[in-house]
Symmetry: C2
Subunit: 147 residues, 2 copies
């Protein structure tokens, strides 16, 4: 990955959107990966608007399927994702976002949402809570990843 080049100019945003095949609901899955360590943090969904806003603002934005709403990650929890690079897969139906994650990605207060591993003894928790979830949210509904 080269030097930071985000946010992107409008023409580059359009060129990227053209390559993406959104599904019947207008959505595409987006994997967020910490750009320097390679840690996979979470998977969420984006629509045309949130892809465009992420590229134009340099901050990862998603579409909340449960709330049916635009979601700029970190606006509620403070756990912002700065976008370093957005990649499109071979057939255009999955995105990979290289991000710089402030704090934790998961609403449970863990760095990554993928903190359970299938082991011979069953499903084991393999990562500790590093931030109290009560410090991330007011006591009502939240996303599966830190909003």
């Amino acid at each position: 990955m080269s030097a930071i080049s985000y946010p992107l100019p409008a023409a580059a945003v359009e060129a990227t959107l053209t390559a993406i095949r959104f599904d019947a609901n207008g959505l595409v899955p987006a994997i967020a990966q910490q750009f320097d360590t390679g840690e996979v943090l979470m998977m969420a969904w984006m629509n045309r608007e949130t892809v465009a806003e992420s590229l134009a603002s340099g901050r990862a934005c998603y579409w909340s399927r449960s709330r049916q709403a635009f979601w700029r990650k970190g606006d509620t929890s403070g756990q912002v994702q700065y976008l370093r690079e957005l990649r499109v897969d071979c057939d255009g139906d999955t995105l990979l976002l290289l991000v710089d994650q402030a704090g934790v990605a998961c609403h449970t207060g863990r760095r990554s949402c993928f903190y359970r591993a299938a082991k011979p003894e069953g499903l084991a928790t393999i990562a500790d809570v590093v931030t109290d979830p009560l410090d991330l949210y007011p006591p009502h509904g939240h996303e599966h990843a830190a909003s």
Copy 2:
């Protein structure tokens, strides 16, 4: 990640399946990541059968949505994915597979399917073809990732 513990015993397979929330089509997205380098290779879909078979055999198996068929990665192309660890995210609706990828993951002959990046000048190809696709497949249909 600890020592290799796959394939898993039947009880551990069942415990893992219980934690997964398959969607209305009986599917869950699965991200494949090279276990030692952290490279994200591809994203594909699994159903209950392919999760169970992956855990029980130690080889990544997927459900091909385009062919509506069971797909043991590498059976056609030789580009096998040995499963090192399967992780389940916080709300159980996405999987992360840590794999040891033989050869290339992408049907284009590139190591990863995520070989296009949104740059100021537009969508740029950032990875080279390392295996001729004609060496991966007979000349007919294929998956978006190397079958």
